[in-house]
């Protein structure tokens, strides 16, 4: 019961230690991880957004510059040449040749379109002379403004392209100089813009049509992005950064900027997972660190606390043992004093009682009482009083030897000699009880500094107890001496018998004064407590191992001076 309670106590102690260690270790770790992650995440977002903003801004400028530059080239033609000069295929061919030489294959062809939409002159690979553009969408817009850049369209040639026009405001006959810009050249400006693994860019016009070739394999419904127009105008720097989920539920990051005076939108799209892959990796690393660290903390907390609890438990047990011994010693000492007092105080009354009985006995001797019928009974009673008085005397005598040792002068003793002496003394009595005493004495034992008469008393007590135990059955008493292997620096004397043994319930009390299992009048219950006291005083230890029907085994350890 007490054991269970103690076990519980240690379990809860261990649990408390584990919980506090884990709490104390986890709290700062979690705090640090979360704060750092949050900071890192914020910084990373800012960095990513800034990067995208810059990217869009740069490309916006680049594309605008590209368009303006091309426009400027054509405008130069319009300003510096007259209609007559321009309305000449050869001249246009030459101009186109120079332009291509300067700017690569950006310029596809050149044409002069008059007010009716007729292309009056043309230079280029597509043979589009004499084509009428009056019905084309761009023509009206181009005619109404000084310069015009069209959206991408298929036109007569059936391939995507866009044109730039400059209106020559010749007084009599205004005309347009039209140049076709190679779609691929323009497209590469945007298409080369790749970010990470999934980031790409495209351009939309106000009708939601692609102005660049969308990257293969990615389907986009341009109409979904129409609301960007409004947002962009409101955004700071006219660049909008936003996150949206697309129809596949993929979270995407969009950076949007307007182009061409707000006609087009440059959209850079990247999957958020890709954009923030570093962040994600960081999170995974943190999680792994957290898991491993946490596991390590938990393991250490459990391991250390259990080790500590084990140690505390051991210390507690040791302390308890020591306390027990102190209590035992204290008990012995106080019982010793008590015994001495009682012995002395009882001696006098007993002496008087015995004397009075003797006196009555003396008086009975007188003749006038000799005839009394009860004389015999009186004498028997007096004899009994005398006997019991002597018993009291014996008890007090033993009590006193328990309290104070008769001859306690110590000298160097060879324990084997002592054992042999005692065995010889007891042999006769043992024979009478059909008990054999065997000895197994290790030779050359070191000398021990003890009082021989006290040691004799101890051995005699143990032998007498064994003899009493085997009174009816007979048996063997084995006495052995050797240098102890369990307790270094001690000699161990073992007295064991083959008697009926000691019930387990009696074992803890066996050294208690006045504890006896012998019938009334046979034992005082002081023998073993006297032994205990004597051995304790020698700085030694005595213990007993026994079980019913297994015999008893007393071990005495006595320290010797090591040379």
């Amino acid at each position: 019961m007490t054991n269970g309670k103690q076990k519980n106590y240690y379990q809860s102690l261990s649990r408390n230690m584990i919980v506090s260690v884990i709490t104390v270790s986890f709290a700062p770790m979690l705090l640090v991880i979360f704060i750092l992650l949050h900071q890192f995440s914020t910084a990373y977002h800012e960095k990513t957004y800034a990067h995208l903003t810059e990217l869009v801004q740069k490309h916006k400028q680049q594309i605008d510059t590209f368009l303006n530059e091309k426009l400027a080239n054509i405008r130069f033609l319009a300003i510096t040449r007259t209609y007559e000069t321009l309305n000449d295929n050869d001249f246009l061919e030459k101009k186109l040749f120079y332009l291509r030489e300067d700017y690569g294959n950006v310029f596809v062809d050149l044409g002069i379109v008059d007010g009716k939409g007729d292309q009056v002159a043309y230079a280029g690979p597509h043979g589009l002379a004499n084509v009428n553009y009056a019905g084309a969408d761009w023509f009206k817009n181009a005619w109404d403004s000084d310069t015009y850049i069209s959206d991408v369209f298929l036109g007569f040639r059936g391939t995507p392209h866009f044109i730039i026009t400059v209106k020559h405001k010749d007084d009599e006959r205004p005309f347009l100089i039209r140049a076709t810009i190679d779609f691929m050249a323009f497209n590469s400006l945007v298409q080369n813009l790749r970010i990470g693994k999934t980031g790409y860019a495209f351009i939309l016009n106000r009708d939601g049509k692609f102005q660049t070739q969308p990257t293969a394999g990615i389907t986009i419904e341009p109409s979904e992005y129409m609301f960007f127009w409004e947002e962009v105008e409101k955004a700071h720097n006219n660049i909008l950064i936003t996150r949206l989920a697309d129809d596949t539920d993929m979270d995407n990051l969009y950076a949007v900027g307007s182009l061409k005076n707000g006609d087009w939108l440059l959209i850079v799209k990247q999957q958020s997972a890709d954009a923030f892959s570093d962040l994600k990796r960081m999170r995974i690393i943190s999680l792994i660190i957290f898991l491993f660290g946490g596991a390590a903390i938990v393991f250490m907390a459990i391991y250390i606390s259990q080790r500590m609890v084990r140690r505390i438990r051991r210390a507690d047990i040791a302390k308890e043992g020591m306390n027990q011994q102190i209590i035992e010693t204290g008990k012995m000492a106080s019982i010793g004093e008590l015994a001495a007092g009682i012995a002395h105080e009882i001696n006098n009354p007993v002496a008087i009682m015995v004397e009075e009985a003797g006196w009555i006995g003396d008086l009975l001797e007188e003749e006038d009482l000799a005839g009394s019928a009860n004389l015999k009974e009186f004498k028997r009673a007096l004899a009994q009083i005398n006997t019991q008085g002597k018993r009291c005397k014996e008890i007090t005598h033993k009590l006193l030897s328990f309290a104070r040792k008769t001859d306690s002068t110590t000298k160097d003793v060879q324990i084997n000699d002592l054992v042999v002496e005692i065995v010889n003394l007891s042999r006769q009595m043992a024979k009478y009880n059909k008990v054999v005493i065997e000895t197994d004495l290790q030779k050359d034992l070191p000398y021990i500094m003890i009082s021989p008469s006290e040691m004799q008393q101890v051995l005699l007590n143990l032998i007498n107890n064994a003899l009493d135990a085997m009174e009816k059955t007979g048996g063997v008493i084995r006495i052995s001496t050797k240098v102890s292997e369990i307790k270094p620096g001690h000699i161990v004397i073992v007295v064991e018998d083959t008697g009926p043994g000691i019930p387990e319930a009696n074992l803890p009390r066996i050294f208690d004064p006045f504890f006896t299992t012998k019938p009334v009048g046979k034992g005082t219950g002081l023998g073993l407590s006297i032994c205990y006291g004597i051995i304790n005083k020698m700085g030694g230890k005595i213990d007993v191992q026994s079980a019913v029907e297994k015999g008893a085994r007393f071990r005495i350890w006595v320290p010797f001076q090591q040379q």
Binding site: V350, I352, E356
Partner: protein, 145 residues
């Protein structure tokens, strides 16, 4: 021998009384005292005491003290120490101071009688020796007259 008287000193009055009666019945003349001081006073007055049975443990002047005083004042008187077990060592100590023997309480009357008789005999033999020496001295002195 019939004239020899014994002094019994013990603070336990009933013990002394009973013991006195029993010893008296066995032909010994008993003078009882219940403390060391009383014993000394009585001894000074009573010259015929041969043996003193003296309890070791008494209130006031204890056995050892009393013994020392007796031996100082009456060196020829024999003292038997009477002791409970607790004071055996003291009794032995008393013997070193010149006590005849010691007895343990409760004591067997026969043992006591034997010891007392031995003590009386010893005392008497001492007395006789001294007497003889005196007479010899007297005769010797006379011889020179």
């Amino acid at each position: 021998m019939a004239t020899s008287s014994i002094m019994l000193v013990d603070d336990e009055v009933p013990f002394v009384e009973t013991m006195a009666k029993r010893l008296d019945k066995r032909g010994l003349k008993i003078i009882a005292a219940h403390s060391g001081d009383e014993a000394l006073t009585l001894l000074d007055r009573e010259g015929s005491v041969d043996v003193i049975i003296l309890d070791v443990k008494m209130p006031g002047r204890d056995g050892i003290e009393t013994l020392r005083e007796i031996k100082k004042r009456h060196p020829l008187k024999e003292v038997i120490m009477l002791t409970g077990h607790a004071t055996v060592e003291t009794a032995i100590e008393g013997m070193k101071l010149g006590a005849f023997d010691y007895l343990m309480k409760p004591c067997d009357i026969d043992t006591l009688i034997t010891k007392v008789k031995e003590a009386v005999r010893k005392k008497h033999s001492h007395d006789e020796k001294i007497e003889k020496a005196r007479i010899d001295k007297l005769i010797l002195n006379r011889g020179y007259d």
